[in-house]
């Protein structure tokens, strides 16, 4: 009997793969075909590398968002958080130059600051949500405004620029490649694997899912709901910190426009990937595909001048809707009872 159970298991695993994973994957493949047809340079090594590197930012943040959303929360503050972390990192590193020079130590200090700020900001979001009993939407809308205005304040409305000495030391973190892949892509891969394991293979991930499914059931099942929820925001903060660490060496600057709308992009990546916005079901693999899809759309639009620039937003909107629709449609499944 347990035998037959296993076969059914693997079958239904396959079929669940069909609809939930293949959806975004198909969308991505279609996009790539379109890109290639528009311009064969789309599949050039250089472009693929650019694409992956760009996806790394949004992807890493979206992996954090997957936890928050799976546990039934939402974080609108990530873009602003990235901006303020980048700003403070730059200020700290610039002022450390005099004492510590422009070596690796200063860069590490900057990274340390980033992680501390990310964790702290995430914790603040989590604390206000759980202990303050304020809706996550409101808390993070508030902190979004706060972080954004803080970075504007630090930058005096303009741009904070990294000292040119440190920039030289820090540069490789964005521009170097190992085994053919740029460092940000490696970080993305690492965070993805860590995120996948955490969500699918640890008690913590199970708890996130349970809380997103039903907070009261989770509470009756000995889960420390507030603590786990706070942790999801901390993880989100940590992911933002990582994304920022690889973002800063790219242009060496932060301003009040850094990270604008990243929150919507990250949430969109998560949901395109099949995670349910109301919580209880999260997919890291889907999130990664979602981030790739979003970046690819932007990339393709830069590869053609067939459409008016002004209509980029229209194309983007249409493709996002279609990508999700591809995934929701019950491919080949007979119409099932509505639930």
């Amino acid at each position: 009997m347990s035998d037959s159970a296993t076969t059914t298991e693997s079958k239904s695993w396959l079929s669940s793969v069909d609809f939930k994973t293949l959806g975004p994957a198909i969308a991505l493949i279609l996009l790539c075909v379109v890109g290639f047809l528009l311009n064969s340079a789309f599949l050039s090594e250089g472009n693929i590398t650019n694409l992956l590197t760009r996806s790394a930012f949004i992807g890493i943040i979206a992996i954090g968002a997957t936890f928050v959303i799976t546990a039934g929360g939402i974080d609108l503050s990530v873009g602003s958080m990235a901006a303020v972390i980048a700003g403070v990192m730059i200020i700290v590193m610039n002022s450390a130059v005099e004492i510590m020079g422009t070596g690796v130590a200063t860069v590490l200090l900057g990274c340390g600051v980033s992680v501390i700020l990310g964790v702290g900001a995430g914790w603040a979001n989590g604390f206000l949500t759980t202990k303050g009993k304020i809706e996550a939407f409101i808390v993070t809308l508030g902190t979004m405004g706060i972080f954004r205005s803080l970075v504007t304040y630090f930058a005096d409305g303009g741009t904070l620029s990294l000292d040119y000495g440190i920039r030289e030391t820090y540069r490789p973190v964005y521009y170097e490649a190992f085994f053919g892949l740029p460092v940000p892509v490696w970080v993305f891969i690492f965070v993805s694997i860590a995120g996948w394991v955490l969500l699918n293979r640890t008690a913590f991930g199970r708890y996130c899912t349970a809380i997103g499914s039903s907070e009261s059931v989770a509470r009756y099942s000995a889960i420390k709901v507030d603590r786990i929820k706070t942790w999801t925001y901390v993880i989100q903060g940590l992911c933002v910190a990582m994304a920022t660490i690889i973002y800063v060496p790219r242009l060496g600057s932060a301003s009040s426009t850094t990270g604008v709308l990243w929150e919507l992009e990250a949430i969109a990546a998560v949901i395109i990937g099949g995670t349910v916005l109301k919580g209880g079901y999260g997919r890291i693999g889907g999130t990664i595909l979602g981030a790739l899809i979003l970046t690819t759309i932007g990339n393709i639009l830069n590869f053609t001048d067939m459409i008016s620039n002004y209509l980029n937003g229209t194309m983007q909107g249409l493709i996002i809707i279609i990508a999700v629709w591809l995934q929701r449609a019950d491919w080949g499944k007979k119409s099932k009872p509505k639930s």
């Binding site: 472009n47 760009r54 409305g157």
Partner: protein, 294 residues
């Protein structure tokens, strides 16, 4: 009335140019208030046109201003609100972007957007020959961007230089970087880039260096007059050899003139159009303000 109240309204700085303008405005406020104890300048910034209209209403209803210095977010939506201020009898100074009805402002102080495009194109033509290829990175879709772009295209007309494509990079470094990366993947042969703005140019330069395509006489023309860019020009940088001025200090000029309207005996009404000077290694030193944030 003992105090002369002057409201100064402009968009919230969200990029370096605006931050420079904000800095100049604050400098001017401190300087003028120290100079004239009976003058009170009230600086307000707003994140969008609607908010700016509201802020202007508040300046009138709360502070009962005697004069308004306004750098409109956009011309159209602010025309009516400023007209309402005008009706209260206040002196109106408009900066940078003209209102869409003539005759509202008493004083007009502005940079010159079409001139910026034209000057950039004229420089391009001196460096490029027929059959050369350039790409254009534009700002945020707005009238300013259109004016600059249209004038640039008009000037380039008939030069034989190919404009491969133009995309919006939103006066933003990140967007400049990504759009340029994609242009580089897409076009194997690019001879020059018009980035229109110094922030975009920074992203473009980073992308060029990453792709190793910053040699062979490649050059980038930005605009506005960022101090780092000017410093580079003074140091003989070849990748960004020139810049086109669009000075953020125009707000200070406007404030000075407005205060002068109350304090000076001579007539001050009229139009003050600042030029879009081409900054080259020869004249760069005179545009370099190391203390400004921009």
């Amino acid at each position: 009335q003992d105090q002369i109240k002057i409201g100064v309204s402009y968009p919230t700085p969200t990029h370096a140019w605006a931050a420079g303008m904000n800095w100049h405005a604050e400098q001017a406020e401190a300087r003028l208030e120290a100079l004239y104890p009976d003058v009170d300048l009230i600086l307000v910034n707003s994140p969008d046109p609607g908010a700016q209209a509201s802020a202007i209403e508040d300046l009138v209803s709360v502070h009962q201003i005697d004069a308004l210095v306004v750098l409109p977010f956009e011309s159209e939506p602010l025309t009516d609100p400023v007209l309402n201020v005008k009706k209260t009898g206040a002196l109106i100074t408009v900066v940078d972007r003209g209102l869409s009805l003539p005759g509202i402002e008493d004083i007009y102080v502005a940079g010159n957007n079409p001139e910026l495009g034209r000057v950039s194109a004229q420089y391009m033509k001196t460096r490029l020959k027929e059959g050369d290829n350039i790409v254009v990175l534009r700002g945020i879709p707005t009238i300013i961007d259109n004016e600059r772009f249209d004038a640039f295209m008009a000037e380039m007309e008939g030069s034989g230089v190919n404009i491969l494509d133009h995309k919006h990079a939103n006066w933003n470094r990140d967007d400049g970087f990504e759009v340029m990366q994609d242009f580089l993947s897409r076009f194997p042969d690019i001879d020059a880039v018009w980035a229109q703005d110094d922030d975009i140019a920074i992203g473009v330069v980073a992308a060029l260096k990453q792709a190793g395509r910053d040699g062979d006489g490649m050059f980038v023309v930005g605009g506005a007059g960022m101090k780092e860019t000017i410093k580079g020009i003074m140091d003989g940088e070849t990748l960004v050899p020139v810049d086109v001025l669009y000075p953020p200090a125009m707000i200070a000029t406007a404030m000075d003139v407005t205060v002068a309207a109350f304090k000076s005996n001579g007539p001050v009404s009229g139009r003050y159009i600042l030029g879009a000077t081409l900054i080259t290694p020869e004249n760069a030193a005179s545009f370099y303000f190391p203390d400004s944030p921009f």
